[in-house]
């Protein structure tokens, strides 16, 4: 896990110190954002997820099990909120038209937006078809660089289940990559 907490930061947050909570948000928001973005591929939604995640952290901090690492807990909240977002998106997909065309037309030209858009397209192309568990394991393990054990902890899965999901995810991603690189190999049903 990339973010290391100051030892007394959570205690200070529990005492209601706003400044301590601000430090907590400042220190961990980038990691939370990266995860949320890689899960939902949308900058605005990722920001909303991160915002909501920290509100939940604040609200439920007294009940936080201190034997768990804070980052594990934060990642778990972000993953759950991301799944909620993806479910909402799936429900509305049948009656809405994606704005991909419009997004490519947006000419604000900000570098970070371009980076995010390009990254979203690349991750989406590989992982969009994966079932939620496989996609989440792939994002946590291969993109967020968590270990098998850390991934298992975040997802409350056994390490064996993480490994199985990762195997399937990588196999499908490899197939997607091969198809992208060699589209002539795509199998068409007649």
């Amino acid at each position: 896990m990339p973010f290391e907490l100051q030892p007394d930061l959570l205690d200070r947050c529990l005492r209601g110190e706003r400044q301590a909570f601000r430090q907590l948000v400042e220190g961990s928001q980038r990691y939370a954002f990266r995860l949320a973005f890689r899960m939902v591929w949308d900058e605005d939604e990722a920001k909303e997820i991160v915002q909501e995640a920290f509100i939940r952290v604040w609200k439920h901090l007294p009940a936080f099990d201190r034997t768990t690492r804070f980052t594990t807990w934060l990642y778990r909240i972000v993953v759950n909120l991301s799944h909620d977002t993806l479910r909402r998106r799936a429900r509305s997909r049948d009656r809405m038209v994606p704005l991909d065309d419009a997004r490519t037309m947006v000419a604000d030209g900000e570098e970070s937006t371009l980076i995010n858009r390009d990254l979203a397209a690349r991750v989406r192309a590989l992982a969009e078809d994966l079932p939620p568990a496989q996609r989440t394991v792939f994002v946590l393990r291969d993109l967020q660089d968590l270990s098998i054990e850390e991934t298992a902890e975040v997802l409350s899965m056994s390490p064996g289940a993480v490994k199985a999901n990762l195997c399937y995810a990588r196999r499908r991603i490899r197939e997607r990559m091969e198809l992208t690189e060699h589209p002539e190999n795509e199998h068409h049903d007649v």
Binding site: E17, Q19, K47, Q51, W58, P98, C167, I173
Partner: protein, 243 residues
Amino acid sequence: MTCDQAREVIALTRPGETSETETRALTEHLGSCALCTRLYRDALSLNEKIAALRAVEPVLEDPEGLVRSVMQIVDETHPAQRPTSRGRRASRLRGRDHDAVAPAAGFRTSRIAFAVAAAIIAVFLMQTTMDARKLAALELRLGRITVGTAVAGIVEPGQVLELIPRGEARDRLLAMLRSGALRTSLNDQGVRAYLESMSNAAGVPPALSSRSGLRLTVQVQDQAEIMKTIDSLLTKGGNAHEQ
């Protein structure tokens, strides 16, 4: 090492993650198994591609803005959660605590007010379909517009068009409201007051979270009028809204 063991290592580990013993056993196995060697090469190639993807990190724009919005919502919505009983005792012993969060009076009332407003909006739902391309064009002028979630497009009868005004988009929306180009199902004065309060407050609107109950929902009530506005913006090269 058996083929099964080798394939598990190949499938699940990245270079440098295997122990010395595993590496030695794997190397030995690969020397005698052509199929596992091919799988190993495939895995290396995949790992390289994934590593390249991992190296590109999403960019969080305006991190300070996000911190401010979180802190603002925390102040407004969850003050009663803090501090813990242990913290409260400590605060009482200290007499005062400048960092402790104070309850925000009236928040519940404002939430109820917005819930009522949302109900009113539902009554005035737009009964017509908006052309997706024109909505996309409107986004170019206003910034991000979402209908429901991440995707936007055709606004069907029964849907509410949500505008999430931020920064420049908020200013443009405000300008459109002032000029009468955009009407809302809410009382216009109320929406204006809300947007004004946001534009006066430096930084992020009071709440961006869809769960906070404070997201501004604006309904485009007059289909013909908004389309006329969009057409006007398009024909003027996109600068009309800044006049």
